[in-house]
Symmetry: C3
């Protein structure tokens, strides 16, 4: 199985599907091609959320704002999963989540038919070739060399002082839900209580539909962090928040 992820929208993902299907009969499953454009943090976050649900696969990941420069090509082995993409750190959090001691290879010397579309010319051929090696063995690929240092993407941590947590918007999802970096276990109040989020009092509930349509709420999302949303609306709008904005959460003690 090969999964495909990019920020390409259309039609470029189809060229990658064609290249893959020309070189391997592996099952192809699209993850998404609608990642926010050239946004390594969002890509790293969503890959870590989604790819662990897949069975062992070669994951082709192309969010590549530096295509055509001298950035390297990275290949990771984490458990039975493999990752192929530009060495820009996007694949590191998911590889680490699967296996904290994952191993890395790089390819720095390669030819490409274009300098603007390595998804088609470099990464897809490499992912297909890796899938065709016995046991998906990166070291069997020509010119792929083990490396110690790789680029990485890290997520900011929330900090806590008593009943106040200072965090940040990690990413925003396509529903307009605001996903913070504040883990569920840091939230002392129980569902049904209220939280003060950036000076606004907000019901902390188990389900979006626990409040009336159009009402802002705080909940714990499927990612395990505090999420700010609106029932059947967009949290980004109601809370006026975007990726990387600061969040201040205070517990209301009665």
């Amino acid at each position: 199985m090969i999964t495909l992820t990019s920020d390409f929208r259309w039609p470029y993902p189809a060229a990658m599907r064609g290249v893959l299907a020309s070189r391997t009969s592996a099952r192809l499953i699209d993850v998404t091609h609608r990642l926010p454009r050239q946004d390594v943090r969002a890509a790293a976050f969503w890959l870590r959320e989604v790819l662990p649900y897949f069975p062992p696969a070669v994951h082709l990941v192309v969010v590549d704002p530096s295509v055509g420069t001298d950035r390297a090509v990275a290949v990771f082995a984490a458990g039975d999963h493999r990752f192929v993409g530009p060495d820009n750190g996007v694949m590191v959090p998911v590889a680490r989540a699967i296996d904290p001691g994952f191993t890395a290879w790089e390819l720095t010397d390669y030819d490409a038919a274009s300098s603007t579309f390595h998804g088609r010319d470099v990464f897809a051929p490499l992912a297909a070739d890796l899938h065709e090696t016995k046991d998906w063995t990166p070291s069997a690929l020509a010119d792929v060399e083990p490396v110690d240092a790789i680029e990485t993407v890290t997520f900011p941590s929330a900090t806590r002082e008593g009943d106040v947590i200072l965090g940040e918007v990690l990413v925003v999802d396509s529903f307009g839900n605001v996903i913070t970096n504040i883990p569920a276990q840091e939230i002392d109040p129980a569902f049904g209580d209220t939280l003060t989020v950036n000076d606004e009092s907000v019901p902390f509930v188990r389900a979006y539909d626990a409040v009336a349509p159009g009402t802002p709420l705080a909940t714990i999302g499927s990612h395990g962090n505090l999420e700010l949303a609106v029932n059947r609306g967009r949290g980004t709008q109601a809370f006026d928040l975007s990726q990387a904005d600061a969040i201040r959460v205070q517990f209301d003690r009665s």
Copy 2:
């Protein structure tokens, strides 16, 4: 075969694909993940239009504004098709279209890793497990119980008095075509005549391209109902109509 439908856009459908692929080697075919957000009428309409064209399959359908509340999980058997999703009526019109006497089961007692993403935590595992039972037998699934009463979605009917039909916009498609609840057989005029739609005279034609580009028209869509459109444009704009708006059609007698 398992089909996937939701209003999730990205990246959440990928988590469902991963869960399914981890539990079954069934062929996966995406129907769409771009259904209008949390709109049970539109979902019910499009499922009834599209799913009957598929061969027998387990259809995973997640339009679920009440995720995390006590709404039940529904499993339907209609002919050789199976449906798995929240019990909110969305799957009822298509199940009824395939088999008016379809049978229903529910699951009310279940654990979920999250309260916001049952597509990943409840419905996808259930659809995969159902696909793996012999003959796709819902009663073989643990804790799934037959039920008599289920939630349902119904579509409003048009009414007629002489040469006047009073109807409603059922849904709007992604081309901006306005799909009404007025069946073709209620339209007495022939293609080439004109209709009066909400006081505007409109050519009633067989094909969009029978009028000049930019011209409003009425036709019979692939769903078999009266449709208001613009050749190479958007009917919603020209007719200023949205879902659930009233439509008054009068036949022009010469």
Copy 3:
């Protein structure tokens, strides 16, 4: 293998997938369903860019503004590839790229359940049936007749006088990159030089990221033509250019 391409967005592609899956167990791969609406030039361009990367396949292509009129159904054989879609020229450039002497058949006498959705009612059944014939033989399909004259789409050519090239915007991609009809081999300057594009001086670089984020640039895209872009931005906006706009490129001699 059957590939699917259209300008349908959702949910209509799903009906085609269902029809195909009901008639053949062929592997189905979506190319894209987000081609610009009813835009035969853009469709012809992208198909020629993408489909040659696929292994031999039956390519179902439905960009069909004249659905329901008397336009014919076309079937092409180019090398080991087959193409099925409306006879409006969209498939000609890719067929010609694969085999300049490709052969064509037409179907002019056919029944369709609808006059607005031949993707579902005519083209998908035909593509599936073609895939099921031995060696994908178009002449084995009932009522399909060889033809000499077919509709065609051609792309305008750039012209050159000394150091000035007069060209045109062929298409715009989903990144907002402006793709011209000026081939790389017409550009005398080397990467690192500047070009004057419509009176604006622009760096001509190998990679988008060779200039600072937000900076306009000219490069050679993966299609082999001059492309006007902005690093991590939209070329269409910075250059104020849309499909079919004129481009005047002058080489800056030092």
